[in-house]
Amino acid sequence: MSTSAIAHAGHTPTTTGLDHRKIAIWAFIGSECMLFASLISTYLIYKGRSRVGPFPHEWWCQTTNATSATGPIAGCPAGALFKPILNIPVTSQSTFVLLMSSLAMVLALAAVENKDKPGWAGPGFGGRILESSKLWLLATALLGAGFLCYQAYEFTSFVHEGLTIRTNLFGSSFFTLTGFHGAHVTAGVLWLLTLLAIDVKRGLGPRDALLVDISALYWHFVDVVWIAIFTLVYLIR
């Protein structure tokens, strides 16, 4: 078992000139679009249909189920009034972290592609930083893991506020949608750490660029899905 094997294929010319894995990852991404489209549509269809709180954007009153988008509800017993559950400031931070991971991914790919051209990124300390594929792979994985920490925090606080996957339609569709996305991020982090391990063991060079390239396609796709989720679930009321 050798780690060089993973990059070793495609020595026969292909019809399109592209590696098989590149075609396959695009087909896979097309398929994933339908997966997330089904999840997001379900969330949107069930939006506002929950019979009991907590709700995503509306103030809610535990005893009467009466809600209002504007604020406190008349007739709600003191202490039974709850805030909308989605925390947009915190989620904006986690969104920023995930988007920065895409930047790190781009830099990691550039570093691997140019490994045979020392000094390509310019002189000095900054250039050496840009040339380190290990650094940027690690950064991408860590930022992805950071996003997952935010998600764990979010899920935990929601549960403390009384929203579980069983509570109502919002809980079911929200946790399933974001949970599926989180699972995709987790798979991506493991993929990046595997690449990092290969890089540490034998070094990734331009001939391995495809390996990083397809992981980058996957990673950017998962990011794009998050942008859709952040917009449709969090920002739009």
Binding site: A5, T42, S50, R51, N168
Partner: protein, 670 residues
Amino acid sequence: MATTATAPAYAGAESHAESGLWSWLTTVDHKRIAALYLGTALFWFLVGGLEATIIRLQLALPNGNVVSAEKFNELFTMHGTTMIFLVVMPLSAAFFNLLIPLQIGARDVAFPRLNAFSYWVYLFGSIFLNVSWFVGSAPDGGWFGYTPLTTLAYSHNLNIDFWVLGLQILGVSSLAAGFNFITTIVNMRAPGMYFMRMPMFTWMSFITQFLIVLAFPVITIALVFLQFDRFFGTNFYEIAQGGDPLLWQHLFWIFGHPEVYILILPAFGLVSEILPTFSRKPLFGYPVMVYSGMLIAFLGFGVWAHHMFAVGMGPIANTVFGVTTMLIAIPTGVKIFNWVFTMWGGVLRFTTAMKFAITLVALFVIGGISGVMHASPPADLQQTDTYFVVAHFHYVLVAGSMMGLFGGVYYYYPKFTGRMLDEKLGSWHFWLFFIGVNLTFFPMHFAGLYGMPRRIYRYDVGQGWETFNLMSTIGVGFQILGVAIGFWNFWRSRTRGNIAGNDPWGAPTLEWSIPSPPPDYNFAKVPKVTSRYPLWDVKSPALTSNIPHSPAEEASLDIDVGGQHAGRVSRAIGNPPGGPVGASGEAPAGPSGPPPTPRRVPTAKELGIPMPNPSIKPLFVALFMTLMFASLIAIHKDKTQLAVALVIVFGSALTASLYGWLLTPLEDEH
């Protein structure tokens, strides 16, 4: 090549390595995987047929007493699920595996080990689904599994859990194969094999893979919701919590209707190979056949709600879906007419394969016409949930898909095994099956119009259904006889059939230029393709004088039927092992021709062709994945901790074997 052909040391070693159980468990050869798919799918065909037989025995006479209502529910659910997911799709997959690389001039699929993985997932998933019979709770919610009937409140045994998890497992198999074949067709075509020169079977398979890749994620999510509702108490289909049962129906049919085309398009492709060969004419309107296939697939995503006219979506939705459904009849009708025009004026040879193919064309029209009838919402309201619908989809799937697939088996058996099927037994198989199918399913139209509902397990006397039901059951007897003769034919011809040679039918496409069965590397020399019918260019140029031979000609759609392009044919196929193609001038007349003497085919090593190494890892990954899914059953038994433990154990084993797979090279370093 000729010099290396005298190395007997290799021959012995190779043949030893290629036999035995271990070689089948570790194979990554697309032709052997095709054989595994074929054998497994034919086995499940017998199981699904047995289920159908019991159903028909129960319904043969009024107030039948063969099985209980509960068993009857399990039987029709498993009959549908088996025939769709374990028979027709894998039979199609057998042909994808065998033919796509051969037809495009490739040495294997793009990802040989992923291909093996797809098969093993299918095998283990199908076993898992049928284990339910032995624990006394086979799925019983219909193949469509409508909620809320399938939610925990109304179905609290393991039945539906087996169904949900089984379909999830099988979905992985289809998706993995979908990515694999899309990549193969896009990226592994031989030089000159432009898209508009691909054989029609490869085209229809290509379109089918897109349907699979885009439709399966939707049912995956629908099943995930149902699974979560049942296992974790979510509310997706809980009406008391505001959940909408129509969500399931929409998600299911967004998958379910493309699935119909996933089942029929490969059979259409096979027929489009068989008819030109036995008519000695190129396929009529090749570009239009390609475009109509694409159009069927595209429109197929916009018609799903015609399965739901009776649920009250309102007149606008019903009208839109009625119209889009009727539109599909246009490209389908185009295909039917093109097949008819392919045969028109041809030199027809009524081999068994040809009989099956013509029968698809004829009987699919019956299913198509009743399909257009349901497309009209007012008519559908009368027909829905009656035996009329049962008659409709059996005409499409048995008289359509199965006829095409049987035709494919008769046509390609020589390429699979190197031996011919017996034409006399084949004729018995065909005629008994043909009579049986029509006797079984045609009376169902009338039973349905007289008001007999689907899925009832017994009916009272005096409603006018007795004769039709008895006829249907007698028809099953004919089908059983036909299939029994066919299977006997498949079995005995492996060793006793006539030697086939490269091209027993005088066919036009690349797969017939190489020995039967093909060597593991398929093509000793990768062919260069200059037209849609490379073998006819060489053997019978007169047949292909009307088809385009250059990209410019292919780009122009106004193909002159009387135009002459003779003289531009290529002789660059060049795959000698087994006798050069066209050496004897005209193609052999057919199966009655003298069998060519088998010559030893050189091995890949002798030719210096790098071949992928066999690997047991795809089997392990598939096994651990299936076990991981299967462990979730324990949640239902209130053993959540056991389930979590098992999922962790099998998940770790899955991850370990997956890393073992990915870090092992496909081929030896060189």
